[in-house]
Amino acid sequence: MLVPVEITFQSTARRFVMHNGNFVPIEPSGKATIQCQQGVAQLLLFGIEGAPGATGTLTLKPQPPHTLKISSHPIQVKIAQGKTVAGGNRFFAVV
């Protein structure tokens, strides 16, 4: 069963999100929607590009009544001093 999961990626920096190896188009507001197979491990890969100190906050919200199995959420990302990019990943499942 496919469950829509709304992504909100708030950042003033340029950003990207990949879901299971594919880029996800993000609206300028930071919102995007992905479809996840219920009970199946999913991968989100994300990153930002900007000046050092720029941050991003990524939140996943599955369609109710579904919930997420995820660690360290909402996801925070920050560009380190002397760098211009930062990224990371989360494995999760919709239950």
Partner: protein, 376 residues
């Protein structure tokens, strides 16, 4: 590796069903069972659909992808077309000029962002909120267009291989904890690495994801402007002309990890008005004269072709953005070296000291400057 290793439903669902409904509905991060860590599963999820770790898995995942495609709306990431994420057509009043602009911003499933902007501006007729008609245009009209593309150049699989191996080495048993937030904590808790070693490993992960050049930028701009000019001919009669000036520019840029570099070529044809001359005519029954000043002769055509290159480098306490320019028509070199030392509340570099030099001027100029936050 079998599909059931990837599909964790057999592991998750019985546990979920055993939970009371209220527990499932609560904050999922606290109560959910684990997703067992498996190196192959971990790596396979970094692989784009259609190619997998083993032939059997490839087939299964391809089948799953087909099923997925049939059941998904267009917004789903797996089948998302080139999505127009923002289009805006606006008409505004800026400084007494009417501006009609169109902007489009698209992100594609290939990881690039395309931006298109078109803009036309013209003066309002005096005291009227309508654009001056072409027949009665009393001032200037400017049209401009720009297109830019940013392309991400990342290596998810190299990142996945490095991360998954690091998680395996750290003895992580829950796949959800295999990330750059939890991994350092686990390494520290287990005493598997020192703080500096953890920082080094996290840096290696970032390098694996972004490589040497995480992104590239391409941009094109063009504009044309018509301006009505009045002038005196040598015999003192007043004349007018409305030749159009135009410009174009092409820009290429590389975003590197810690700095960026850009090169821009700008061509421009413009018109420069001559020095003014004054024509005085006697006023009937008066010793006074009525004088009018206008440029003497038609405006001169000025052409320029400028090649500029700029680097933006970020360090721990300062940033540098040196640039070099060369004007092929006037054969003038220019050099600027802003040193950013001051930051705004958000941490962006906004001010500092600047050195500037031009080959047609003998001295080196120094100045304190404030500008908007420096971006890579």
């Amino acid at each position: 590796m079998k599909t059931r290793d990837v599909l964790i439903s057999t592991l998750l669902l019985p546990a979920i069903l055993a939970l009371p409904c209220s527990a499932v509905a609560q904050d999922s991060e606290q109560t959910e069972p684990k997703i067992p860590f498996n190196l192959e599963t971990c790596r396979a999820l970094f692989t784009p659909q259609g190619c997998c770790a083993t032939p059997q898995m490839s087939q299964k995942v391809a089948e799953k992808a087909d099923e997925t495609r049939q059941g998904l709306p267009l917004a789903a990431s797996e089948v998302a077309p080139t999505a127009t994420t923002a289009v805006a057509l606006t008409a505004t009043d800026q400084d007494g000029r009417g501006v009609i602009s169109f902007a489009s911003n698209k992100q594609t499933p290939q990881g690039s962002t395309n931006s298109l902007a078109l803009k036309v501006s013209a003066p309002f007729n005096q005291n009227q909120s309508v654009l001056a008609s072409l027949a009665g245009l009393s001032g200037d009209i400017v049209a401009s267009g720009s297109f830019s593309r940013f392309i991400w150049n990342i290596s998810p699989q190299a990142y996945g291989d490095t991360l998954c191996q690091a998680c395996q080495n750290a003895g992580i048993t829950d796949l959800t904890e295999c990330n750059e937030t939890d991994l350092p904590r686990i390494l520290q808790e287990k005493g598997l690495a020192t703080e500096s070693e953890i920082a080094r490993r996290m840096n290696s992960l970032q390098d694996a994801l972004f490589g040497r050049m995480p992104g590239t930028v391409l941009s094109f701009e063009a504009s044309a402007g018509r301006k009505e000019r009045t002038f005196f001919t040598p015999d003192g009669t007043k004349d007018k002309e409305d030749r159009s000036g135009y410009s174009f520019s092409a820009l290429g840029g590389m975003i590197l990890n810690g700095w960026s570099a850009y090169t821009r070529l700008t061509g421009k044809t413009d018109f420069k008005e001559n020095d003014k001359a004054t024509l005085c005519t006697p006023i009937t029954d008066s010793i006074l004269q009525n004088c009018t000043a206008q440029p003497l002769g038609e405006a001169k055509k000025v052409e320029s072709l400028i090649l500029a290159t700029e680097a933006r480098m970020f360090f721990r306490g300062f940033a540098l953005a040196p640039s070099v320019q060369y004007d092929f028509d006037s054969e003038v070199w220019g050099f600027e070296a802003p040193l950013f030392l001051v930051r705004n509340a958000d941490g962006g570099f906004t001010g500092g000291l600047k050195l500037a030099w031009r080959s047609d001027q003998e001295h080196l100029a120094a100045a304190v400057f404030v500008t908007r936050a420096l971006a890579p």
